[in-house]
Amino acid sequence: MKIQELMSTEVASVRPDASLRQAARKMSELGVGTLLVLENDELLGIITDRDISVHAVAMGRDANWTDVKTVMTTDVVTCFNDQEISDAAQVMEEQHIRRLTVLNHDNKLAGLLSVDDLARGSHDLAGAVLEAATPLH
């Protein structure tokens, strides 16, 4: 099965100079935990609800005056939409992560693939990814 059959193509994004408060409100309103950071269609990074809590709030940074690019992760792990889902699972396992950014062969953003999406394709692949992931507790 190919990654494009399972990935989510509706991906929410935010600009790098948005405030963390704006990013948090977007996550809250859209019911998502991850936003891609885009500028002129170029993928600069990824920011999660956890990044906002543990890299900004925990450090005493003011969310109104701290921008997204200050706390976003710039090492975005990617895969291609026409790869096999077993390849995606292997990358997630090796990197101890639960989510990959999916690109097409023009290197344009195509979607996101999470371990939840994987579970709809293969229980065994998703289970292996969870076992390898950094704990969530």
């Binding site: 929410a12 956890r50 809590s53 709030v57 989510r99 579970a119 293969s122 065994d124 969870l130 507790h137």
Partner: protein, 137 residues
């Protein structure tokens, strides 16, 4: 397999009066995403990194002035440590969640069991939980 065989029993807690900034700092230092809220030996809620993002930052509140009790979730879904892991998976799937608080039969907090822990017992059970869960994207 019983829940106590796979659960995490080293659980660090917070109190209702602690600030959300202090709670975020604990989540950062301990590499966890949620803390049980204990008041006078009783479990009164759970606070997650997402709660701090969506209920404090998104609404423009100051985390130093906002107490854990103002941002925590008070509906805590629990199970008992001597139940079978299939029962834990059923409870998670029915409630569309990925984590349960584990109690002893004397109603003391024994730990947490997450979908990651389930994956170490059964890939099949863990994936069923992921398929039922509220999307994490």
């Amino acid at each position: 397999m019983k829940i106590y065989e796979i659960m995490s029993s080293k659980v660090i807690s917070t109190t209702p009066d602690e600030t959300t900034k202090e709670a975020a700092r604990k989540m950062h230092d301990l590499h966890v995403g949620s803390l049980p809220v204990i008041d006078d030996g009783k479990l009164v809620g759970i606070i997650t990194d997402r709660d701090i993002c969506c209920r404090v930052v998104a609404t423009g509140r100051d985390a130093v002035m906002t107490k854990v009790s103002e941002a925590m979730g008070t509906t805590v879904v629990t199970c008992f440590d001597d139940q079978d892991i299939t029962e834990a998976a059923d409870i998670m799937a029915e409630n569309h969640i990925r984590r349960l608080a584990v109690l002893t039969r004397k109603h003391a907090v024994a730990g947490f069991v997450s979908v990651d822990d389930l994956a170490r017992g059964s890939h099949e059970l863990a994936s069923t939980v992921l398929e039922a869960a509220t999307p994490a994207h």
